[in-house]
Amino acid sequence: MATKTTSRRIFMQSAGAAAAGALAAPYVKTATSAGRLKLGVLDHWVPGTNQALRQILTRWGEANGVDVSVDFITSLGNKPLLTAQAEARARAGHDIFMHSSAMVPLFKDRLVALDDVVEDILSTQGPIADVFRYAGHLDGSWRVSPAPTGTNCYATVARRDLFLEHAGVDLTELFPANDSRDPAKVESWDWEAFRNAAGALHAAGVPVGAPVAPIPDSTGWLTQLFAAYGAAVVDERGDVSVNSDPVREVLEYAIRLLEFLPDSVYAWDDAGNNRWIISGSGSAIFNPPSAWAVAKRDSPDVARHIWHCDSPRGPAGRFRTFNTIFWGLWDFSENQSAARDLLRYVAEPHVVAAMLDASQGYDLPMVLSHYDHTNVWADGQPPAGGLYNYAIRGDERPIVGGYPAPAEIGASITVQRVVSNLVARVTQGGDSIDAGISWAENELEGVLRG
């Protein structure tokens, strides 16, 4: 992923220009002239969030004379992608549809450019993190707009009691629920330290669990592991780079780490790691706080020990994989004016804050200023402070699946599960590292084909 840094001067110039544009062409609501809007959005993992979103959308519809209907689509079994494929080919279905970062490149030619909407949002609410621009701004235009709900990231979700008892690691000291981190201690939290802890927890009968199956959750944690070792299967120029020393190094590490994980990780679905920690069988997973939120309801004794932490560091740094969720507008939508109004509305701070509360902090805002309007991560409990570090507090760099390849190639790497298959081949399938890399090179030809 090409990373851009925006200096304060450039940002202020852009913001000033955008503000001037907004004054010259005042935004006029047009939704009252519209009739119906159909939305296909993520069926949220956190109980109660769907109802909150439906309420917000219904109220907006009533206020603007628009009949809004919402379908909640589960992410299990890749159903959003399947539904999007069907709708894109049939040119019928919802008006607004959710798109993960891996879906945007697949459907970019069927999505209406939303530059006016996103520029309105950015000009009024400030900048967006680079990782979201990388995922949603393709071929020179915004193909999608920030969704008010669904974006999440793969934090280390760990049992503080088990880590302390069996591995001697005090996670609350390493990653406290305030700004008083000890940089030296955080620096010491690398993948080797994590493996040492995983070994002790495995010996104690409460192993760490992380999927190595053809599912999105595998992509989540393996992307941040690979990035931490500077390992890329395709580099930022779009060239295949899997046959490299960093990839060999990370695969050697994966072989050593997976000795301590249960064999079932090779067959988990996206709920597998949630069940692993909620049941009390496991000591850590890589996940958003959905597992914790469900544990609060179903297994409170587990929930009160769950501590969300930073990812371990590697030789190339510390990374956190984001699962970005945008909302896009199909080109066959017959109600684009109302849809654009709704997209602007759901990016307003009060809507984002309401969804943050409803999702118990699972959702992560895309607009940076939205982090200023909530205390949800500081307030989330039990345990007090356990959710604080789910939002990035330290030196982690946000990335998405396929990093650091260009967005379209990265999306193909993600949906074809190249990385998780590569890791599974060398850790479970009996392939040598060289054989696994050779397989990946062959597979990546398919990813790169035009």
Partner: protein, 294 residues
């Protein structure tokens, strides 16, 4: 009584007219999708340019594709053999039950076949669940080590074949049972009078008399088994390591999930020539045997 128009009083015209809905269905649901798939398979990934057979030549260079070919054939071969053997044994067993009591057994044995496979496979998934498998729970209670049903290549393949056999064996059963009932009882009585034992009656009367049904049932089952999708999709999604992908699930992964519809169409069309040749050979043999009997 109204008099039919002259055209409808001609039998050929009525026959053609009554076949129109069938022709429309075949054209709409078989011919059009097939030719559209052929057309798609000749396009580039973006579906903007004709590339001839490039998609097929690209596939032939993929390791994963050839693995899918091998395991599809393995899956179909093993599953069809077991379905045929179990179906034959079960048909014989039911055929020996007095007619009055047969109906309930036939009904019970058909249950796996009539439940929608996606639903019944979900039940199997709960039994095989990677971490909390109900079967493994039972095994561990008996001090038997847990089996990695879905996370190990051998066991994952075993699991999908097992479920396919469970779903498909009743089809063989019902076909074989119908065939067994069509064999005249006099043949067995005559054989018994000549001193034939059970195996001799089976090999010299039963098998020759139901050979055509076996051939047609096997052909039909091979086609359906090779095209299987739901069992793999629900149980393993092609994993671990792509080692349970079949043509249909791999075509789905490549075409729908990865957004490369032309390549997915090429994968799904790959089995068509194989099945066409197989169907031609089996149906030709059936026709010849039928002609020789006549």
């Amino acid at each position: 009584m109204r008099v039919l128009p002259p055209l409808l009083r001609r039998k050929p015209a009525v026959a053609v007219l009554m076949c129109v809905p069938l022709f429309a269905l075949i054209l709409g649901l078989v011919a059009y999708p097939f030719f559209h798939a052929l057309f798609l398979a000749t396009l580039n990934k973006a579906e903007t340019a004709f590339v001839g057979l490039d998609n097929f030549s690209f596939l032939f260079g993929r390791q994963t594709f050839w693995m899918v070919v091998r395991q599809s054939l393995l899956f179909a071969l093993v599953a069809v053999v077991f379905k045929a053997l179990i179906g034959l044994a079960a048909a014989h067993a039911i055929n020996t039950i007095p007619t009055k009591g047969q109906r309930k057994w036939r009904g019970m044995m058909l249950i796996p076949w009539v439940i929608p496979p996606a639903l019944s496979t979900l039940g199997w998934w709960w039994l095989f669940e990677p971490t909390y498998s109900a079967i493994n729970w039972g095994l561990t209670k008996l001090a038997v080590p847990a089996v990695p049903w879905l996370s190990d290549t051998f066991w994952a393949r075993f699991s999908i074949i097992l479920v396919n056999v469970w779903v498909g064996a009743p089809f063989f059963l019902i076909m074989y049972l119908a065939a067994l009932k069509s064999i005249p009882g006099e043949l067995y009585e005559a054989a018994e009078m000549d001193g034939a034992g059970p195996w001799q009656k089976f090999f010299y009367i039963t098998l020759p008399m139901i050979r055509n049904i076996i051939a047609i049932t096997t052909l039909f089952s091979i086609i359906v088994t090779l095209a299987n999708f739901d069992i793999v999709r629900v149980l393993t999604q092609g994993g671990p390591l792509n080692t349970t992908h079949l043509f249909a699930t791999y075509a789905f992964r490549v075409g729908i999930e990865s957004g490369d519809i032309p390549l997915g169409a090429a994968v799904s069309l790959f089995m068509f020539p194989m099945l066409a040749i197989l169907a031609f050979i089996i149906l030709r043999n059936v026709r010849r045997r039928a002609a020789s009997l006549a």
